[in-house]
Amino acid sequence: MGLLDKHLGYRAPLDAIRAVGADPSNVRFDAILSPTEGVLNGKPVILLGTNNYLGLTFDPASIEASAAAVREWGTGTTGSRFANGTFTGHAALEAALAKFYGRKHAMVFTTGYQANLGSISGLVGRGDHLILDADSHASIYDAAKLSGAEVIRFRHNDPEDLYKRLRRLGDAPGERLIVVEGIYSMIGDVAPLKEFVDVKREMGGYLLVDEAHSMGVLGEKGRGLAEAAGVEDGVDFIVGTFSKSLGSVGGFLVSDEENFDLLRIVSRPYMFTASLPPAVIASTLSALTRLEEDASLRTRLSANADRLYEGLRDMGYSVGPHASPITAVEMPDQATAVGMWNALLQNGVYLNLAIPPATPENKSLLRSSVSAAHTPEQIDAVLNVFETLGQAFGLLPARRRARA
C-alpha cells in the first residue's frame, strides 16, 4: 500500500500509451532551433504544437531585452509582488497591458494558470455565483474551487443555455460572474461572444473572458476575441497569458473595475508566490510591443492557419468547425490517435496528443497549433505526412496522387 495507490487507475492506460512508442507526457527536446524547428531523439522535427502563435520565442529584440535585464537586475526577484518582488519592469508591463487593452488597471501573475486562479478567486467568493462554460480550462475549474462560490456550468458556446441557467438563479442573492474563453484550447473553436454579452446585459452580472489563445491572434489590433467581435465595452475582465503569443511565461488581468488594487492583497495566487524574473518581464514587454507594431504577424498566422485547416479538411480529416491557429484532427479512437501521433513524430512532425479526460466529449485528438513563423513549405510538408499516414492508417481513402 502506497500513498499514490488511489491513482493506480491511470497506470494501465499510461503504460499502454508508453508501450506504443514515445511517451506523450514526457517528450524531451534535445534542441530548439527556431520557433518552428526542434530536435527530438537526434532527429529534426517541425514544431506544430507549441502555442507559439506569433513565433516570438526567438524575436531578436526580445532576446536582447531579456539578456540585458538578467545582467542588470539578476536572475530572480526572490519575492512576492506584495513584498520585494516588484521592480520597474513589472510596473511598466502592467502599464503597457492596461494601455494595450484601453483599461484602467492591469495586474501580472506568475503563470497563466495563476492568472485565472487569482483573478476568479479574488472576484467571487462564498455566496456569489460563478457561471462557467462547460468546456472551461482546468485553471478556471480550479479557480472555482478556490473561490468558494456556487458554480453552475452551461453548455459549451451556447448563449441560450447560459440565459436559461441565469434565469433559474432568479433573484438569489450574490454577484454573478460569467466566464468564457476566446478560443478554446482543444478544438480551436471561438465563443459567440456578442451573444454572451447580450445575455449578460439582459440578465445582469459580470463577464470575464480568458483570451489566452486569442490574444495576438484575433482582432485588428490583436486584443483578442472581444476586439474582433466588437464587444470590448461589454466585457468586464480580460485574462490572458504570456506563454503563447508573447513567447514567455506569466499571465495577466485587465479591467476598469473600481477598487482593483484590492485584488493585490486578497488574491492568494498573486500574493503568495514569487513574482516573474526580470528577464521574463523584459522579453514579454518587448514581445508586446512587437505584437502591437507588427500586424503582418497576424496576417501570416491567419494564412498558415487556413492553409493547414483547409488542407486537412480537404483530405477528408475531421477537423473543428472553422479555421483557427488551433486545428484538432479527430481520431476514431484513442489507439489510432496514439499510433498516428507516434508515426507523425517518426516522420518529423511534433504536435499534441489530446485524449480524455482532457478533451471535450471524450474525443481523441491530434491537436496542432500553427505559428506566424511557419513557412508555407513547412505546412505543406506537414500536410504530406498527414496524407501518407492517413492512408497507411486507413483514415483516408487510398488514392493515386495527381502528378503535376
Partner: protein, 84 residues
C-alpha cells in the same frame, strides 16, 4: 410520500446518466456513482447539467462534494427543490 419522491428522483438520475453515458444503467439509491457506474468527475458534472434541465433547478457543483451515491444525489436534488 418522501419515498415516492425519492424513487422518482432516482429514476430521473438514471435517465440523465443514460443520456450522458450513452448506455443503459441500473441504479438504486445505494449505487455508488463513481465505482458502480464508472462515472468520472467530468461525466458527473454533465449528468448534473442534464438534471438541472430535467428539474428546472440550479445544482451548484460545490454541493457535489458530499455526493457519493445515487441516493445522495437524489437527496440533494430534493433538498434544492424544496428551497426553490
Amino acid at each position: 410520500m418522501a419515498e415516492v419522491a425519492t424513487d422518482l428522483t432516482v429514476r430521473e438520475v438514471a435517465k440523465a446518466a443514460e443520456t450522458v453515458l450513452g448506455r443503459p444503467v441500473q441504479v438504486t439509491p445505494a449505487t455508488d456513482i463513481a465505482r458502480d457506474l464508472a462515472v468520472d468527475s467530468l461525466a458527473l458534472m454533465n449528468i448534473v447539467m442534464e438534471l438541472e434541465d430535467r428539474f428546472d433547478l440550479s445544482i451548484p457543483l460545490d454541493r457535489l462534494a458530499t455526493v457519493q451515491t445515487v441516493g445522495d444525489l437524489s437527496d440533494l436534488i430534493n433538498t434544492l427543490r424544496v428551497k426553490a
